[in-house]
């Protein structure tokens, strides 16, 4: 009988004591599997066949094959998530953009004001304005965080907390008459920014002569053709004769007109006692839908 003496350890050698084998496996399972993967990768590089690998490692051929399959099977590539697929992600992304843009706005506003502040009084006034704007932005973020993404809100309910803030930080009372007006939360938020600016202007330039508290009334009506008309009137001494929205250099009016433009609307001054403005906006929800469609087409 011929016996072939291999220089390699016998395959059955270790299996002779299965208990010991198992405990080693448990103790060093992780290390072993990593070691195994690395050795197998090296063997693959060397161009060994599974049979040879089995012979050199003393592992059953089936184990080698199984390990090789897991090595060779491509691992899925993590693709960037499509925000549209997960509403929670989309919401987070929206919030991130909003925060980044607000901070950029705040920094730009402060720089802009700092260029124009030529006296201590002017600097003080600019800082007070800046604080009032930051208050409004902070409130806006809190309100948006509470509102469902892309959802509709009641304008009166949305404005409520803002009006309280404005009474505190600006010192103007706001009366809101917008029965049954609902619109996209993002549009409602922008209206809040406009109200804040006009309230600041009313306190600064148009205090009522009789010493009464500065009060603004906001009336909002939705018209048939998908338009929202907003009338904002204060009880002050009115706009200057030569006042023009276009020529107004104050940051407040720049913010008001650009916000209205951003919403695709128009603004004009009205005659009468006190400063009065008429803002016409395309109906909130439709405006945002068209912008979103637009984005989708072009991305």
């Amino acid at each position: 009988m011929i016996r072939i003496h291999s220089r390699l350890p016998e395959r059955t050698g270790r299996a002779a004591d299965p208990g010991q084998e198992r405990s080693v496996q448990v103790q060093t399972g992780l290390v072993r599997s990593k070691l195994m993967r690395e050795s197998l990768l090296m063997f693959v590089d060397l161009g060994l066949t599974p049979h040879e690998m089995s012979r050199y490692t003393g592992l059953p051929l089936a184990t080698i094959r199984r390990q090789l399959r897991s090595l060779i099977r491509p691992t899925p590539v993590a693709l960037p998530k499509d925000p549209a697929s997960d509403p929670a992600d989309a919401r987070q992304m929206e919030a991130d953009h909003r925060i980044a843009n607000s901070i950029q706005f705040a920094a730009s506003m402060l720089r802009h004001e700092s260029r124009r502040a030529t006296s201590v009084q002017a600097a003080q006034a600019a800082l007070t304005d800046a604080a009032a704007r930051l208050n409004a932005i902070a409130r806006l973020h809190r309100q948006m965080a509470k509102t469902a993404s892309g959802g509709n809100v009641s304008l009166a309910a949305f404005l409520g907390p803002f009006c309280k803030d404005i009474a505190q930080s600006v010192g103007a009372l706001i009366e809101v008459r917008a029965p049954g007006v609902t619109l996209g939360a993002d549009v409602a938020g922008q209206i809040c920014i406009i109200v804040n600016e006009l309230a600041m202007n009313a306190v600064k330039h148009g205090r009522p002569a009789n010493g009464a508290a500065v009060t603004l009334t906001l009336e909002a009506v939705k018209s048939g053709q998908g338009q929202l008309t907003i009338l904002l009137r204060d009880n002050g001494c009115g706009l200057a004769e030569d006042f023009s929205l276009k020529r107004s250099t104050g940051l407040g009016m720049v913010i008001v007109t650009s916000t209205v433009e951003k919403l695709g609307g128009s603004i004009r001054t009205l005659r009468g006692d006190g400063a009065a403005f008429e803002i016409i906006l395309p109906c909130g929800t439709e405006a945002t839908a068209s912008i979103k469609d637009h984005c989708h087409d072009q991305v």
């Binding site: 992304m93 901070i103 950029q104 706005f105 730009s108 802009h112 433009e261 637009h294 087409d297 072009q298």
Partner: protein
């Protein structure tokens, strides 16, 4: 000294005003300010700028069509945006992105760098090629 003409597309008026002042302080001329994609495209057609700075989200949509036009005209530009790289169309992966919020003097510095790189390239190529795309069409 040649003052580079910069096109600024930004939908936030206050940010745009501040940036324009900062760019002018850094020695450039703001040749146009746009808040919408339509305005941006009009301005590019009216007079090709030397450099452009684009926000991705403009009033009426994203600025990618304008970016495409600038690329075709060989105008160096950068995005100024709160968008992550993954949110920008892949054809613009090679375009520098300044992420918002960003200090406006840093932005101005970067735009000036773009302008100087462009001028240096023109000097190397010679004055005959100063406007490869033509200033006005």
């Amino acid at each position: 000294m040649i003052r580079s003409r910069v096109l600024l597309a930004e939908d936030d008026a206050v940010v745009a005003i501040d940036l324009a002042r900062e760019l002018e302080a850094a020695g450039m001329v703001v040749s146009g300010m746009a808040s919408s994609l339509a305005e941006t495209l009009e301005l590019i057609d009216a007079a090709t700028p030397d450099i452009a700075l684009l926000n991705v989200r403009l009033r009426d949509g994203v600025s990618f069509p304008a970016a495409r036009r600038l690329k075709a005209l060989n105008v160096p530009f950068a995005f100024l945006t709160s968008f992550e790289r993954s949110e920008i169309a892949s054809e613009f992966r090679d375009i520098p992105r300044l992420s918002k919020p960003q200090v406006s003097s840093v932005i101005a510095e970067f735009v000036r760098h773009l302008a100087e790189t462009r001028l240096a390239a023109i000097r190397r190529r010679g004055p005959g090629d100063i406007n490869p795309a033509g200033h006005s069409r």
